[in-house]
């Protein structure tokens, strides 16, 4: 997005930009972001929901929804267009997986090895609750059981 700054520095701020090497052209052809309209708030909500589960490729761990980068914005537009065309959220996600790999999903699918990821915490909590119940029972038992 450097180019926009260069351009603006040159045009808006006058001769401020002397230190910068490049010149200030070509911004006019840039596509404007596809801006959310309130007209279809259901579509917008669905876009937000899907975009929140996809990872922005040029950021660090941010979702498409959160990232201010150009690519994330364009990918959100693709999400919106596909949803508008009648694709289901899962189909949209599958499209991005086919292009970028599983990496793009911020939440791993509940299949194969990934199941462990979801079950280990649940098992830990259940096991922990059983253990606590057991310990409390034993520790509150009448004196005779403790040596």
């Amino acid at each position: 997005m450097k180019r926009h700054a260069l351009a603006t520095l040159a045009v808006v701020a006058g001769a401020l930009c002397a230190a910068r090497p490049a010149s200030a052209q070509g911004v006019e052809a840039r596509s404007r972001p596809s801006v959310a309209t309130a007209a279809d708030s259901a579509l917008e909500a669905q876009t937000t929901a899907v975009a929140s589960t996809l990872r922005c490729p040029v950021c660090q761990g941010e979702s498409l929804q959160d990232s201010p980068s150009d690519l994330a914005r364009q990918m959100r537009a693709v999400v919106r267009d596909k949803l508008r065309a009648g694709e289901t959220p899962d189909e949209v996600r599958a499209y991005f997986v086919s292009k970028y790999g599983e990496w793009i999903l911020l939440e791993p699918t509940m299949t194969g090895l990934n199941i462990l990821l979801y079950f280990i915490p649940v098992l830990l909590v259940i096991g922990g609750l059983v253990l606590v119940a057991f310990l409390v029972r034993r520790w509150t038992a009448p004196e005779s059981t403790t040596p």
Binding site: A13, S52, Q60, E107, P108, V125, V132, T146
Partner: protein
Amino acid sequence: MIDLLAHNALLVSLAAVAFGAILTPVTIRTGRREWLQLVYGAVYANFLLVSIAAVSMVVALVTHDFSVSYVAQVGSRSTPLLFTVISLWGALEGSILFWAWVLGLYSAAVVALHRRRLGNLVPYAVMTLLAVAAFFAILLVGPADPFLPVFPVPADGPGPNTLLQNHYLMAVHPPLLYLGYVGMSVPFAFALGAIFSNEAASNDWSILSRRWMLTSWGFLSAAIIAGMWWSYEVLGWGGYWAWDPVENASFLPWLTATAYLHSVMVQERRNMLRLWTLNLCVATFVLTILGTFLTRSGILSSVHAFTTGAIGYYFLAFIAIVLVTTLMLVAGNSERIQTKGKLGGAASRETVFLLNNLFLTAVMLTVLVGTLYPLVAEAVRGVKVSVGVPFFNRMALPAMVSLLFLMGVGPALPWGSTTWADARKRLYPPGIAAMILGAIAVIAGARSVYAILAFAFVGYAAMSNVREFWIGMRARHRAHGESWPTALVRLVAGNRRRYGGYVAHIGVLLIALGITASSTFRSEREATLTPGQTLTVAGHTVRLKNLWGREEPQRSVIGATMDVVGKNGAIIGTMEPRMNYYRVSDQPVPTPAVRSSITGDLYVNLMAFESSGANATVKVIVEPFVPWIWFGGLVIVIGAIIGLGYGGRSATAPAPATNPAPSIASADS
């Protein structure tokens, strides 16, 4: 010149800490305790030497001495003085130097405060600290040497990482984080010292170490909040927590430290959970090292990953040594440390503490597993996967919401035991508060089950904790006729540990409220505006006035001036979201404008703009209650400071008459 001085200081400090660490067991085995003065001398010498190195680095940075490798890497003549000074921790080598300095500071403080104590606990704890210091000293004279000579000397440098020089919070967050992280070496050192000196079966080591843990915990809490604030102010998406590996790395030891602060109370009162508490102590330290390793070695991709290289292998070796040594020591001595537990009854604060420890540990393990899973998936399946926000929210939120609930139950229940009827009576007022807050949340439009539960439990726990103050104050007011403020002060002063804890609870609740409200009731819109056009989000209207550019020595700034328009059309304020283009980076650093009030923030970020100044694309986010998070952080720190005070023995005072606690005298040998 200065680099030579500093480099030699670091070499001597390595020799000093190695000497001290080796001399300690010799001293104890041979019974020549007078030699301990040498060990303690080594600790002070190390602190002095590392201080010389750190000050040298600051001097080199400030004087732009580009013949020093670290200065050539992060310095720049155009960087403002504040950011030049704080670039001390802006990159890998400097941050390790700073780490070593903080560790030196803590070690010297431990020696100064505890050296007169009899027995071998303190010497062995000091030995452990020296061993850890030796690792960082090795890094500093080896792979992370910040004082390497550069030739030819460059005329100027690139300046610090742009993200780090964009906000003054970078002067606050890293030092707090290091004070928290490194401070957790001290309780760890006491834990290992207790094992080495055969004192692990006594309460002494935890009485010594718990204040160090509370201190570090306070710093770490503040650091986490400051880090959230920084990312809120700099990253431009209106969020403060993204479950990034580095955020997780700071959160993991916080969770175990919090669990420790609770379980240590049970240990002291009931003479139980001894092994568990020791494990938490050790785990906290291991997690600080693990977190540093994961995020600094480049093994996981993160905002903060500095570099890959030889230093990663040193960290790997260190982590292997730490893990193997501590696991061996703790497991090998576990039979001697373990004690039989005894509870007064199931309906007691102890039970709640057990559950609290369970859920804190569960959150910790969930976050740890989620953070490491991409590595596991790649190793096993050969596929890169991401584990991000949706996963952590889904998996960690239930346990975190449960913890909010427990925060209300714990303070309401007495130590020892009570009847279920009494417990019900005690939990009645919080229950009412829960229903009220839950109902308000539903009326306000919350629909997610977790959000409603979180609001309800915040109300529940807030009532419960505030009621503790109320009950205590009322008792003093009635019994001694004290005025309410006097009653409050004397109440807290009489049992600082207990009431400090409640204050910290209230801080956590403020944060929970801020997080729940801001994520539930957040509204945002993005639009392209021409000057004069307005955008309204959730009742807040902003109008684009104009776009401007400004040249500063280290950066170019593009800003949009936005008027905040009140209900009647009058201008009630101005906001200037900016994009900062640093000379050294292609990526602009967004600098959103935030307008805070007690009910929430208006957050405006400049997303894009037309070169002619004809229009600007802005994102406007309305986030209720965000400032409560920062305020809650402050309250936690106040709680920690209160809890650190020497509140006498009353921390263990009102023992229940129904069920006397088992004698702990035998353990205090």
